[in-house]
Amino acid sequence: MSELNNSTSQSSLNTAATSHHEKWRLLKDAIMRRAVTVGGLSIIFAIVVIFFYLLYVVFPIFLSASAESVAQYPVPEQSAGKTLFLNIEEQNEVAARFTDSGQVIFFEAKTGKTLSQKTVLLPPDTKITSVALASPLSEGAVIYGLSNGQAVIVKQQFKVAFKNDKREITASLKYPLGETPLVVDDTGAALEKIAFKVGDGAATIVAKTADKIRLTSIEKEQSMFSDEAIFTRTDSFLDMPAANITDMLVDKEDRNLFLVSDDGSLSFIDISKKSAPEIKQHLNVVEAGQKITSLTFLNGDLSILIGDSSGLVSQWSLVKDQLGKPAFEKIRAFKVSDKPVIEIDSEQRRKGFVTVDSAGQMGIYHSTAERELIKEKISTTAPLTTILSPRANALLFENADGKINLWKVENEHPEVSFKSMWQKVWYESYAKPAYIWQSSSASNDFEPKYSLTPLVFGTLKAAFYAMLVAVPLSLMGAIYTAYFMSPKMRIYAKPAIEIMGALPTVILGFLAGLWLAPFIEEHLAGLFAMLMIMPLGVMAFAFSLQFLPENIRKEIPEGWDAAMLIPVILVTGWFAFTISVPLESAIFGGTLRDWFKNELGIGYDQRNALVVGIAMGFAVVPTIFSIAEDAIFSVPKHLTTGSLALGATPWQTMARVVLLTASPGIFSAIMIGFGRAVGETMIVLMATGNTPVMDLSVFQGLRTLAANIAVEMPESEVDSTHYRVLFLAALVLFVFTFVFNTLAEVVRQRLREKYSSL
C-alpha cells in the first residue's frame, strides 16, 4: 500500500511548496508507523518486564553467601596476655580482645589499632581458670571463674552516639553485681568450668570445681532504708559426677542447664527451681567413639547445636513427646566436614550459624532452611577463637600464628530454600515436621516459617470449590443459552449474566463475609436440602407439563423454559429451606453443624471454603459462561442441521455433535475461569478466616497466595526475605495464570481456525 502512496505523490505534485508539504506528510507517516509499532510491541515488553522484575526481586533468596578476607594484623597489645575470646560490635568498627590476665583491649576491627585498654577488677594473686559468656551474646555479659573459688561478672557494651553526623562508638565495662568478687565456692577450690546468666539484679551461676557441680543463684533486693543492696543467695549441688564434664550452658531464661561430658553425652537439667535442680535427661548425642567438640545455643535458646569430632553438627530441640512431656530430640544434622568441629557461632538475629573445623574450614548454615550457604577455607590452622558480628556480616578470628583476621560475610537471605518452602520442616519446639506459614513476629528470636505449601493448598482448595459451583452452573447455562433458548430471551439473559462479571469482587466478598457466611451457618441444612430438592422439583415440573392438555401445551412458547423455571426454583428453594428446619431437628437432633461436629468430628468455621466456593463460584460463572457460550453458539449451523436431519433428537445433537465440536472452547473457558479463581483476592480475603491451615474440609477456612500477599505485603520490610518470599508468591501466581491463559488462548485460536475451515 505504501508503494501506491509513493507513486501518486511523485506523479501529481511537483511544485516546491507542495513537495515540501509532501515530504512532511511522508515523514509523518513514517514516524507514526515506527511509533505505533513500538507502542504495539511494548505490550510484549510489559509482560516481559513484569515477569523479569518479579524474578529480579525473588532471585537473591536463592543466592548463596560469600565471604572474603578484609584485613589481617598482629594481635594488638600482645603483652596483655593470651586471648580468651573476641567481641565485635554491630557496625564492625570496634572489636574487643579479652585476655587471660583480665585485660580488655578495644581495637579498630579493620586495622588492629588499639583504641583503649581496660582492666577487669580481679582480686590479687588469683588466676582466671574459666570464662563464659551469657546467652544472648548481645548483652555482653562475661564471667571469670578464678582459682580461689571466686567469680567476677562483667558487662561489656558498645554504645553508639552521633556527634556532628558522625558515628562514635564507645566501649564500657560494668559490674552488674558490684565490683567485689562473688565467693562461689566457699572452700576456695578453683572454678574449672563456669556457666551463668545475669539479669536485672539477679544471677544464676553454675560452676564446676574438681569434684562438684554447684548451682548458685543470687537475687539482689534494694534495701528499703538505704542505698545498699541486699543479696539473697541459694546454693545447691547437682547430684552427678563432675569429673568428666567438659562444657556447660545456661539458657537465657535461666531455666535449663546443659552439661556435656567427655564420653559424648549430654545432660539436660531443669534449674527453674534454684534450690532443687532436676536432672531430666541423659542423652548420647554423638556416635560411639566420637566426642562433643563444640556446643552452643541457636538464637532464641530453644535448641542447641552440638558439633562432634566426626564433623557433624546436630540440632537438638526441646519438643513435647507423646506423653506431652518435654524432651530433647535431634531435629536435624549437618555434615559439616570430616574433621572435628571446633567452634560453632550462632547468628544473633537469625537461625543461622557458622562452623569452624580443626583444619580452618569455615561453613555458614541455616538451620530451618537446612541450607549450606558457603564453605570456605579461612585459615591453614585451627583458629583459636572466632566471633560472628551481631549482624552476621563479619567474622573475626585469631589464628595460632598470632594474627587477627577480619572477614566480610554477605549472607542476606539464608532463611529460604526449596525444602523450607515446599516440604515439611521440623521447626523448633514442634512435635514433628509440618507445613507452616508464619512469617513474622515482633521478636528477634522468632523462627520464620515460610512454607508456601499451605498457601498453595488453600489457593487450590478455594479454586476447587469455586469451580465445583461454577462449572456445572455456567456450562449448563451456556449449553441452554446458546442452543435451546429463544433468541428473544437470549438477548437479555446473556448480558444479564455477563454483566455480573463486572460486579466488583469487593462487593461479592463483602456480601459473602457479612451476609452469606452467617446465613449459611444458620441454614446449612437448608442449603443441602435445596441441592437435593431443587433438581427434583425442576424435573417434576417438567414431567408434569407433559400431562397438560394439548392446546395449552402448544401455547407455551419454545425456548422460554428458563423463564418458566424461575418461579419453580424460587418455590422449591423456599420449600427446601422451610422443610429443612423440622427435618434437621428430626434427623440430626439439633443443628446439622453440631451433628457434623459431634458425630463426624468436623469443626465448623463461619467463614469457610463453602462460602468462598459459592461466592467465588458466582464471580467465575460469567467468565466461563461467556466464553463457553460463544464457543457453543459459533459451532457451524450445518453440523447441527445435518444431525437433526438424520433423525437425532436435539439433545443427542447437542451432546454428540455440538459439545464435541465446541469442547476445546469449553476447555479453554474452564481454564480461564480456573485462572481467575486462583488469582482472586478480595473474595477470599473477606470470606475466609485467612488461617493458613491445610484441611480439606469444606467447613474450614483457608488462606490463599493472593490473600496472603494482600494481608502481609503492606507490613513487610522492603528487600527483606519476607518481602522477597511474597514476591515469589506473586511470581508463582503469575506463572500459573500465564500457563493457563496461554494454553487457553492457543486452544481458542486453534478452534477459531477449525471453525473457519468447517
Partner: protein
C-alpha cells in the same frame, strides 16, 4: 412413559434451563439485596418504645429502631440455651439499635419478642445524630444556654431547631477555617521548610535568604494568629448551647450542640417529610466527610478519590491501548508476532490483579518513585514524596491492568470499519496515518469509548492492587485542592471499593457500619453496572451502524 421422556433427553434440557434460571435468580437476587439494604439506609425508621421484661424479671423501657428479626425453631433455641415453653414453636428475636453507646457501652441489643410487654411509638421521641458515640435515642427535656435553661417542654423543640441551625453554621465555619485556611498555612510552612532544606543542600543558604524566609514565616504566623483568635471565639460560641434529654432508663444527659449533627422526630414525620429527609440524607452521604472511624457520615473523599484515580488512569491507558490496537489491526503483518502479542494481551488480562499490585509497589513505587525522589526531591529526605504509594502509582498500575480491555475493544472497533473506507481514502492519495487519523479512528471512536468505559468500570471496582499502591482508609487531604500545584499526585487517596472492605471488615463497630457499607456498595454497583450498560449500548449501536454501512 418416564423412560421415553428420559430417552428424549428433554429432562437434561430442562436441567440446563434450570442452571440459567439459577444464574439469573442469583444475579437479580444479589442486586436486589444490595438495592434493598443500601437504599433503605437513608429512610427515617420509626422509633419504638418497648416495655421489656429482662431475664431477671424486671420490666424496663427500651427505646430504639428495629433492625433485624430472626426466627429460631424451638428445638434449636433449646440447644443454644434458651428456655422454651412446651407450647412455643419458635423463638422470635429482634435486633434493636438502641444507640446511647456512651451510656450503655453498646449500640445494639437482641431482645426476645415474647418478653415484650407493651409497645408504642410516641411522637415525642427524638433521635440525635452525634459527632461522637453514635446515635442518641430518648426524650428532649430542655435547652440550655451555658448553665441557664432557656426552654423546656413543648417549646424546647422549636428553640432547639433554631439553636442547632446556628451551631451547625458555626461548626461549618470552624471546619472551613481549620481545613482550608489553616491547612493552607501549614502547607505553606511545610513548603518553606523544604525550600530552605533545598537551598541548604545546594549551599545557597545565606543571611539574605534566611531573612527572606523569616519574613515569609512571620507573615504566615500573623495569619495563623489571626485565624487562631477567630477560632477561639467561634469555639466559645459553639460550645455555649446544649440540650438536655432523658434516656430510656430515665437518666438525664446533657449534649452540647457542637456535638450534634442532626436531630429528628421520625415518629412525627409524615410520608412526604420522610421523602424529603431521605434525599437530604442521601445528599449528605454523597457530599460529606466520614465520621467516627468511617462508620458514620458521608463518603465524599472516597468518591472523589475514585474519580481522580479513574481520570488519571484513563489519561494514561487510552493512548497506549489505542496505539497497541492500531498496531495490531492496521500495521502489523498478521503472523507470529501478532499472535504473540495477542497472547500477551490475553495474559495481561488474566494475570491476577494482586500481582499488578505487587509489581506496582516494587517497580513503580520503590524503584521509579525512589529514583524520582533522589533526583528531584533530595530536600525532603528521608520522608518519601513519590517513593511511597500514592495516586500517581495507583493510576499507572491500574492503567496497566485495564490496558487489555481498551486494546480488545478498540481492535474490535477497527475490525468493523469496512475495508472500502480505508481503500477509498488511500486511493484518494492520503497517507496511511492520514487515513487512520481522519477516517478510520473517528469511525472507531465509539469502540474506543466502549473500551474506556469498561476500563473505568473495572478500575472503579478493583481493590486488591490499590491496597498496595496508594489507597488509605482515611486521607487527611484530597488529592486536588487549592494549594499550588493544586493536583497532588503523590498523595494517598480513598477509594470506594477499599472503603467497603475497610469499613465492613476492619472497623471496630461492624454492626453499626453495615448499613453504610451496603449504601456504598449500592453506589458502586449502580456506577459500574451503569457504565457497563452504557458500553453495551454503544457497542450495539456501533454494530447497527456498520451493518448499515456494509449493506
Amino acid at each position: 412413559m418416564i423412560k421415553t421422556w428420559f430417552k428424549s433427553g428433554s429432562p437434561w434440557i430442562w436441567l440446563n434451563a434450570a442452571a440459567v434460571s439459577t444464574c439469573l435468580i442469583m444475579v437479580v437476587g444479589i442486586l436486589g439485596l444490595i438495592m434493598a439494604r443500601g437504599a433503605g439506609h437513608f429512610w427515617a425508621a420509626p422509633i419504638v418504645q418497648l416495655s421489656y421484661q429482662e431475664d431477671d424479671g424486671q420490666v424496663k423501657t427500651i427505646i430504639g429502631e428495629h433492625v433485624d428479626t430472626t426466627i429460631t425453631p424451638a428445638l434449636m433455641a433449646k440447644s443454644t440455651g434458651f428456655k422454651m415453653a412446651d407450647n412455643e414453636d419458635v423463638l422470635v428475636q429482634y435486633l434493636m439499635k438502641t444507640g446511647n453507646r456512651d451510656l450503655t457501652g453498646a449500640d445494639f441489643r437482641w431482645i426476645q419478642e415474647r418478653n415484650i410487654k407493651a409497645q408504642s411509638q410516641p411522637e415525642s421521641l427524638i433521635v440525635i445524630e452525634r459527632r461522637e458515640w453514635g446515635n442518641f435515642y430518648g426524650n428532649l427535656t430542655a435547652v440550655k444556654e451555658g448553665e441557664n435553661v432557656i426552654a423546656t417542654g413543648e417549646k424546647a423543640w422549636d428553640v432547639l431547631q433554631e439553636r442547632l441551625k446556628v451551631a451547625l453554621e458555626l461548626h461549618e465555619h470552624i471546619a472551613h477555617l481549620e481545613k482550608k485556611e489553616i491547612g493552607a498555612i501549614n502547607y505553606g510552612l511545610d513548603k518553606l521548610r523544604l525550600e530552605q532544606r533545598a537551598l541548604e543542600l545546594k549551599g545557597k543558604w545565606n543571611d539574605q535568604t534566611a531573612k527572606e524566609f523569616a519574613d515569609k514565616k512571620a507573615a504566615y504566623d500573623v495569619d495563623y494568629k489571626k485565624y487562631q483568635a477567630q477560632l477561639g471565639e467561634l469555639y466559645q460560641k459553639v460550645r455555649r448551647d446544649s440540650l438536655v434529654a432523658t434516656t430510656e432508663s430515665g437518666a438525664e444527659l446533657s449534649i452540647p450542640l457542637s456535638k450534634v449533627v442532626d436531630i429528628s422526630q421520625p415518629n412525627k414525620m409524615g410520608f412526604f417529610t420522610k421523602v424529603g429527609r431521605y434525599f437530604a440524607k442521601l445528599g449528605e452521604f454523597l457530599s460529606e466527610d466520614p465520621r467516627e472511624a468511617n462508620t458514620e457520615g458521608g463518603i465524599f473523599p472516597a468518591i472523589f478519590g475514585t474519580i481522580m484515580m479513574v481520570i488519571m488512569m484513563s489519561i494514561i491507558v487510552t493512548p497506549f491501548g489505542v496505539i497497541a490496537a492500531v498496531y495490531l489491526r492496521e500495521y502489523a503483518k498478521q503472523g507470529f508476532t501478532t499472535r504473540l502479542i495477542r497472547i500477551a494481551v490475553n495474559n495481561l488480562a488474566g494475570v491476577p490483579s494482586i500481582v499488578y499490585g505487587v509489581f506496582g509497589l516494587g517497580f513503580f513505587v520503590y524503584i521509579l518513585g525512589g529514583s524520582i525522589d533522589k533526583l528531584f526531591y533530595p530536600e525532603s529526605a528521608p520522608a518519601p514524596v513519590f517513593g511511597t504509594p500514592g495516586l500517581m502509582w495507583a493510576s499507572i498500575t491500574l492503567a496497566l491492568l485495564t490496558l487489555p480491555v481498551v486494546i480488545v475493544s478498540t481492535e474490535e472497533g477497527l475490525a468493523r470499519v469496512p475495508k472500502a473506507i480505508r481503500e477509498g481514502s488511500l486511493a484518494l492519495g492520503a497517507t496511511k496515518i492520514e487515513t487512520l487519523w481522519k477516517t478510520v479512528l473517528p469511525m472507531a471512536s465509539p469502540a474506543m469509548m466502549t473500551g474506556l468505559i469498561l476500563a473505568v468500570a473495572r478500575a472503579a471496582g478493583e481493590v486488591a492492587p490499590l491496597m498496595l499502591v496508594g489507597v488509605v482508609k482515611l486521607a487527611p487531604t484530597l488529592p486536588l485542592d487549592g494549594n499550588y500545584p493544586f493536583l497532588h499526585l503523590d498523595r494517598k487517596f480513598m477509594h470506594l471499593g477499599f472503603h467497603i472492605y475497610d469499613v465492613g471488615f476492619q472497623s471496630p463497630n461492624v454492626e453499626a457500619a453495615r448499613p453504610l457499607v451496603y449504601a456504598t456498595s449500592l453506589l458502586l454497583v449502580v456506577v459500574i453496572i451503569g457504565l457497563n450498560l452504557a458500553a453495551i449500548l454503544i457497542r450495539n449501536h456501533l454494530r447497527e451502524k456498520y451493518r448499515a454501512l456494509e449493506g
